[in-house]
Structure formats: structure tokens, C-alpha cells
């Protein structure tokens, strides 16, 4: 974009305008420029924001960011050349021994290790092999104590975003609601909630093999940008391009809608932000076209509220969404 052309009104003039030092003629010039294009108005608004907020900052304490960074830098830089006494070495060795013994006992007691999330919680789990799983709400993973040494097998209930560390000798295998997902090292999302009819695998990077648990040889290969769907009832697998960023919005908080009915938008918000919603029938078919990047729920709702003229009330942790409805 050519920024020169957008500045038909020079910043000097905008400054004078904001400072109330502009003549009537100059004010008109600025007003005309503002109404000429929405880009101009946005430009003006952002400069005015800067201007108005500045006025309130005189009483705000100034923070010397260089000094603060030095403090932080010192705090995170390990001290060099520290001499460790023999007594300290023995002390460390002793605590390590206790730790190892304890871990051994704990491992002996449980054959499997599991991690689960609550109704409205997202957790990040790092597995023994270094792979990372972001578990969405209401989800659980279980794996054996020999995970990472003898195998890389894991069971998933619910939804997880996987970033699997590459290991050509040991495939990473996920069992999820009758489907088996096998990979070597890659990034993908698996949605396998018990109460949903499908298991959905969205591949972000690399190659993923999806099969029915009972027919492990009949594999469907999924590449980056593809979504594999295992239909639980039919016990069949289908494949489609994953053009829907919203599939992984619960992890990325990137949402985009194009003529999407409000009730579908709300389902996605529910999966992303883990809040409950009740949508009035009058507005459930209102079409939404908007994109959000890492916005919190309050911001998303504000935009929906003003564009669709909705009423949103929060009562007992549930958002109630009503309104007059939209024109078809």
C-alpha cells in the first residue's frame, strides 16, 4: 500500500487539529479528508487515540525499561564459576537418590499415567519423548509407563493438539474412539469426544496415517492441510481439505467466519473459550462474516453484539444471546 497517497492531509495539520490550534479552513480540510475514505478515518482514529491517551499519562509513573530489563537479565542468567563444596555434592547426591527411589516406587505402583482436563480448562502436557500435547477441555490422555522407551502409544478421549517429536524407529500411535492415528513426527489436531459421531484429525504439518482400530492395515494417509474423518457408526473414513481454521481455534484463538449462521459460530466459541451459551431462535440463523486473531471472548462478543445488534447477558456462567433477528 502506498502510504504517501494516504497522507493527503499532512500529520502537521492533524496535530494542529487535535491541539485545537487549527483555523476553520484547516479543520474543514481535515474533516473532508476523514470522510473521504475509511482508511483515512482509521488513521485519524489511531492518531487521536494516541493523542487522548497521552494526556492521561502525566500522572502515570515512568518505568525505566532498560533498567528493568537489566534486573530481569540478571535474574535469569545463571551465576558463573560457582564453587560447590564436597558437602554440597553429597547433599545433592543424597537427595537425588531419594528422588530416584521415590519415582521408582511411584512408577511401580501405577502401570499407566494419565492426564485429564476439567470442563473449562486447557492444559499442556509434555510427554517423556518430548512431544507436546495441548489438551482441550474435558479431555484425557493415558499412556503406559514404558512410553518413550518401548513404544509411543497413547489413548485420547476428547481433543488434543499434538506436536510430535520425530523418531523414525518408534511411531507415535494414538487410539481415539475406535480410530487409530499413526505418525512419525508432525503437528496435528485430534478431536475425539465420546458424545460426537466423528473423530476428526486435522493435519498442520507432516504426514499422518488414520485407520480404524480393528483394521490397522487399511490406512488413509493425510497430508498437511487435510482433515480425516472417522465416522464411528459407519466405521468408515473420509478425507477432505481442512479449509476450516476454526477446527483448531481452541488452541490458536484464530477464528474466521464467512456467512456462518450464529448458532454454528456459538458452537465454535464454546469449543474455543469453554463457556456456555443459549442462543435465541430469532437470531440463531443470523449470518456472521468476521475474523478474529487471538481475541478474548469479551472482545469477540462485543463485535458480534454490535454487528448483529444482539443483547448478551451473563447469568450463572451462561451467556444468553437474544435480539430482534436479521434480514435474510
Amino acid at each position: 500500500m502506498d502510504t504517501e497517497n494516504k497522507h493527503i492531509v499532512p500529520i502537521e495539520l492533524i496535530t494542529r487539529f487535535l491541539a485545537n490550534e487549527a483555523s476553520v479552513n484547516e479543520r474543514t480540510q481535515v474533516e473532508d479528508w476523514r470522510s473521504a475514505a475509511s482508511e483515512n478515518e482509521k488513521e485519524f482514529q489511531s492518531i487521536r487515540k494516541l493523542w487522548n491517551v497521552s494526556a492521561t499519562l502525566g500522572k502515570k509513573e515512568e518505568i525505566d525499561i532498560d533498567k528493568e530489563w537489566q534486573i530481569m537479565d540478571k535474574a535469569i542468567t545463571p551465576a558463573k564459576g560457582r564453587v560447590i563444596s564436597l558437602a554440597r555434592v553429597i547433599q545433592i547426591a543424597a537427595s537425588l537418590l531419594i528422588l530416584v527411589t521415590l519415582s521408582f516406587l511411584v512408577i511401580q505402583q501405577s502401570k499407566t499415567i494419565s492426564q485429564k482436563t476439567a470442563v473449562a480448562e486447557v492444559t499442556q502436557v509434555t510427554l517423556p519423548d518430548g512431544s507436546i500435547i495441548n489438551l482441550n477441555a474435558n479431555s484425557k490422555i493415558t499412556y503406559g509407563k514404558d512410553f518413550g522407551t518401548a513404544n509411543r502409544e497413547i489413548t485420547l478421549k476428547g481433543e488434543g493438539f499434538f506436536e510430535v517429536v520425530s523418531n523414525k524407529n518408534m511411531p507415535f500411535i494414538i487410539s481415539a474412539q475406535g480410530a487409530t492415528i499413526q505418525v512419525l513426527g508432525t503437528q496435528f489436531n485430534v478431536k475425539a469426544y465420546k458424545n460426537q459421531e466423528e473423530v476428526k484429525v486435522t493435519v498442520i504439518e507432516g504426514v499422518v496415517e488414520l485407520s480404524e482400530a480393528k483394521q490397522p492395515t487399511k490406512k488413509t494417509v493425510l497430508l498437511a492441510g487435510e482433515t480425516g474423518i472417522y465416522m464411528k457408526k459407519k466405521k468408515a473414513i473420509k478425507k477432505k481439505p481442512s479449509n476450516d481454521l476454526n477446527d483448531i481455534s481452541w488452541k490458536t484463538k484464530y477464528l474466521s467466519f464467512e456467512n456462518t449462521p450464529l448458532n454454528q459460530v456459538i458452537d465454535i466459541l464454546n469449543n474455543t473459550y469453554h463457556k456456555d451459551f443459549v442462543v435465541d431462535n430469532k437470531v440463531k440463523d443470523c449470518k456472521v462474516t468476521v475474523a478474529f486473531r487471538d481475541k478474548d471472548l469479551a472482545s469477540v462478543l462485543k463485535v458480534l453484539k454490535s454487528t448483529l445488534e444482539l443483547h448478551i447477558t451473563l447469568n450463572n456462567q451462561v451467556f444468553y444471546i437474544t435480539g430482534e433477528g436479521c434480514q435474510k
Binding site: I11, A19, M72, D296, A298
Partner: protein, 186 residues
């Protein structure tokens, strides 16, 4: 330090410099005291550094940072029992449920970013800008006060806005997109 460590540290420093001031203002709103606020924000960043290998520096971290500072502030208040009764505390704690938390977050972030941008202005430019914005002096008054021409005042004022606008370009643009759709905001 390995190259990977150096890159991590650069990203960490950038995150720190972008958000530190706003986070302090945010904590101060709840704690009142700037020293405790700074301590809390430092602690949040130390925690991020400890988990640096898992932390996703590529993703926007604003909500995470503000939520962490908020939680630590609430714990601090609880531990130090600064409030006379539990009701005040509940009122503060409840603000996370309403939009108040998000509004405070946006305001504190905006204030922090602008305050930092002002601090980075060239000295003369900053002096003129602060006399106008902080003390409400007219161009002519500033000119007389500093013994410079009104034209110079004008130049310094627009230079200040130009530099700050450039510095905060991406951030302000997103912010404005948001408020244009939400006229009730602020």
C-alpha cells in the same frame, strides 16, 4: 550460549519490553503500590523464562500475561490482606468474570505502550510534547516558556506524533479496528 538460546532470549526480551510497563500499570490498579506491582510482573516473566522451551513466543501472549499478573495480584492481596473485608476482595476477583478484566487489560496495555513510546522520543521533542499533553499548555505558551518559535513547537509536536505513530503502528491499527466496531468501548 548456543544460537538457539540467543534467539530465545531475544524473543523473550522483546516480549518483556513490549508488555512490562502495561502489566505494571495493570497490577498497580489492583495493588496500588508500584514496587509490589513490578515484583509481580518480574515474577511472571521469570516463570516464562523457566518454561522458555515450551513457551510459544510466536503466538500472541497478551491474554496469558495479563491473566498471570491478575492471578498473582489476587494472591498477593489475599496473602497480605490489604482489604478490610472479604467483600472487596470478591468484588475484585469477580471482575475476571465480567468484561471489566478485558477492558482494564486493553487500557493498561495501551497506556504502557504509549508511555514507553513517549520515553523513547528525542529529548526536545519529548519536552514539548509533555508540556502540551501533560500540562495542557498551548503552543504559544510552550514557545514562550522554552524561548523557541511557535513553528518549532508545531514541528516538534507533529514529529512526536509521527514517531510514536510509526512505533505503535501495528498495535494501534488492531486496536482501532476493534474500537471502531465498539463505540461503547472507553
Amino acid at each position: 550460549m548456543t544460537t538457539a538460546d540467543t534467539i530465545l532470549k531475544q524473543k523473550f526480551e522483546e516480549l518483556f519490553r513490549n508488555h512490562f510497563t502495561g502489566l505494571c500499570y495493570f497490577a498497580q490498579k489492583y495493588l496500588g503500590d508500584m514496587d509490589s506491582s513490578k515484583d509481580i510482573v518480574h515474577a511472571v516473566f521469570v516463570k516464562i523464562w523457566e518454561n522458555r522451551h515450551e513457551f510459544e513466543f510466536e503466538k500472541p501472549a497478551k491474554s496469558y500475561l495479563f491473566t498471570s499478573v491478575y492471578n498473582r495480584s489476587m494472591n498477593f492481596i489475599r496473602d497480605h490482606k490489604k482489604f478490610a473485608d472479604a467483600e472487596d476482595f470478591d468484588a475484585h476477583a469477580a471482575s475476571l468474570e465480567t468484561g471489566e478484566f478485558y477492558d482494564s487489560m486493553e487500557v493498561a496495555e495501551l497506556e504502557g505502550r504509549i508511555k514507553q513510546a513517549i520515553a523513547k522520543l528525542p529529548e526536545k521533542c519529548r519536552e514539548v510534547f509533555e508540556l502540551n499533553r501533560f500540562e495542557g499548555k498551548k503552543y504559544a505558551e510552550i514557545a514562550a516558556h522554552l524561548n523557541i518559535s511557535i513553528k518549532t513547537v508545531e514541528n516538534q509536536m507533529s514529529k512526536a506524533l509521527k514517531v510514536m505513530r510509526e512505533e505503535l503502528k501495528d498495535y494501534l491499527y488492531i486496536f482501532i479496528l476493534f474500537i471502531l466496531k465498539n463505540n461503547d468501548f472507553m
